[in-house]
Amino acid sequence: MASTACFMIVSRNDIPIYEAEVGTAPKKEDAAHQHQFILHAALDIVQDLAWTTSAMFLKSIDRFNDLVVSVYVTAGHTRLMLLHDSRNDDGIKSFFQEVHELYIKILLNPLYLPGSRITSSHFDTKVRALARKYL
């Protein structure tokens, strides 16, 4: 498993709807803020790249020192973003695909308002389990 990994889901209106630090490294307050900052800075690149391909997985699109940003854009332009320091494209792809499926299940709930925060603890547990499995 990667020592540093920060996972975030950003809605089509550029609002983060789910965040999780999924690395094994001990948590540091300022690092979490920095991760958020790097991921947000990558959004512009995603916006341009998303229209050049029909694939959902955009691979790694940006880097910061030894940290890499990988992005997955869904059909509804919800972006799954992962900041990581490992080189494991296949694992990341599988991780994104399974989280995407979880996200669809959340979205299909008629009581969930698209673009609002995902508060389900079940979802959180599942995402962390997937991170342990693939990253």
């Binding site: 089509r12 998303a50 229209w51 050049t52 391909t53 029909s54 694939a55 959902m56 854009v73 869904t74 059909a75 509804g76 332009h77 919800t78 695909q97 995407h100 499926e101 979880l102 996200y103 669809i104 299940k105 959340i106 979205l107 299909l108 709930n109 008629p110 698209p114 389900s120 079940h122 979802f123 599942k126």
Partner: protein, 188 residues
Amino acid sequence: MKQYTNVIDRPLSKGKQEVSLSGFAFLFSELVQYNQTQVDNITQLETRLEDAGYAVGARILELLCHREKGNRRETRLLGILSFVHSTVWKVLFGKVADSLEKGTEHEDEYMISEKELLVNRFISIPKDMGAFNCGAFVAGIVRGVLENAGFQAVVTAHFVPVEGQQRPRTTILIKFAEEVLRREARLG
């Protein structure tokens, strides 16, 4: 049937089940009647039906791109239109739409026509309600799919009389925003 403690554990539906038409017609008629009690005029009623459809469209786009298209997104105008015309229509109404045409007068207009739109099958509009069309719900679905895929558009439903037929057909008129056409031109 296996019970799941949480929806997240349940596998996504394969989309093979169908619902009874009369059941749907009853539910839809309740939707229209309820909304009718909440509004002052026809425009508001259409807006409310459209909003109800929008929520369906936003979800169906995400689900179908995953299930039917193997996780490919649509980035081109014609691609997303044929996605609506065939994939979406087939899943919602059991058949592809009767026709998809480009508007003759304006470059940014497209039309999806249906001889007998499913939601209008058991509906006749009272004379005093003028041009009201329950197809507004379907127009909302189409708008939900298009906007969430990044194609901003204004979508409206209209009755078009057909010669020699008692029932008019329904045309869903799609007018794309300028920025969508500009991006389309840039992509070449």
